[in-house]
Point group: C2
Chain length 222, copies 2
């Protein structure tokens, strides 16, 4: 009688052990970035979903995983945990085709990922959350903030347009995790009331990213 | 007659060429991070100062350097420019004692640097700017925002306290650019009305950082 996984026992056991868990929300652009990069890199992830509106990431058992109370968190079987979407992207992509091999290219990647988290996400992702997904009564309390979200979000899109009018990609002259980081919420900016028609180079870049091998839309899960 | 720089001519010329310019504001914690890392790494920088309140970084000639209109920007003699304080820290510290040599340690560095830019700086640095440096009439227009700055800034300090209660440093078990990034605005959080007495591990870490070889305070310039 043959043993299960005959001939592959060690490899199978290893594969079971090393598949990390991505604590995530399916609708979050920050979590989508990680799923997209993992798919293109051939990295397996087990998805563990949390609700967008139920406060699950502010409860004690989740705070033990990330005291900052946010997804995504990548968790390994040995207990190591990594938070912050762009740090996870970096970890997954070191020494792969998604990260430039030269020091200057890597610095450009980080420049755009920090731009994304400081100057883009707080307006474009936040407008999307409140306008598209939050309960109406909660949106009403924040309606006075919409003009600021839109002004600063449009400023970020204008910075992207300036760059993309002269470059196909954000960093290192090639597709990288900098593009993935910025694609995460730019491709669904309309959810937050942003019209991208004024940014033709951004629109062309969105199409380039979506046409790449292994690309998956935000809705895809497993 | 001896030539100037006799015997060292090539080295001196090389040194003159490679010293990059840091476009900066002396009082900015984001710019201070870069100065501090450069001092500890022995990297020479030429400082070019901009006013904190005169809008100089939103004028056309500066926007040609950084379309996002912010300092710091590191500019090289060949025209390459790098924005975002934490991307500059990374660029300066690759393959040095300020960045862990292992992949997981580098990922931890980035986790804390993204935490700093997303969950810490927008409240602790912003409160400092408006409460300490902005004209009184401009502060008055934003006085209703102070409770939010303080609530979210204290949340960030609490996350730091949780980590520092069990670790001496933020990433990789050693002093790194993650510590420099978080030191930048934490050490002057009192300027924004934050009392650090409730975060003893944060206070002890501030002292550890300040006691290291090559440490320079925010005021030091050259």
């Amino acid at each position: 009688m043959e043993a299960p996984f005959s001939g592959d026992t060690d490899e199978c056991r290893e594969a079971l052990i090393v598949v990390p868990v991505l604590h995530q929300m399916q609708l979050s652009g920050n979590c989508y970035k990680v799923r997209l990069a993992a798919r293109q890199l051939g990295v397996e992830l087990t998805l563990k979903d949390y609700g967008l509106l139920d406060g699950a990431t502010r409860k004690l058992d989740f705070l033990a995983k990330n005291p900052n109370g946010r997804v995504p968190v990548l968790e390994f079987e040995d207990g190591r945990r990594l938070a912050e979407s762009d740090a996870i992207l970096w970890y997954l992509s070191e020494d792969t085709f998604l990260l430039p091999a030269d020091r200057w290219g890597r610095a450009e990647v980080l420049q755009w990922m920090f731009f994304e988290q400081y100057s883009h996400e707080p307006y474009i992702a936040v407008a999307r959350f409140w306008l598209r997904f939050a309960p109406q009564e909660d949106l009403e309390k924040r309606r006075h903030l919409i003009p600021e979200w839109h002004a600063k979000g449009h400023a970020a899109l204008a910075v992207m347009q300036v760059h993309l009018a002269r470059h196909d990609w954000f960093a290192g002259g090639r597709y990288s995790i900098a593009d993935i980081a910025l694609y995460g919420y730019t491709h669904c900016a309309a959810d937050g009331g942003f019209d991208l028609a004024a940014y033709p180079a951004v629109g062309a870049w969105l199409k380039r990213v979506a046409s790449l091998r292994g690309h998956v839309p935000l809705e895809v899960t497993w």
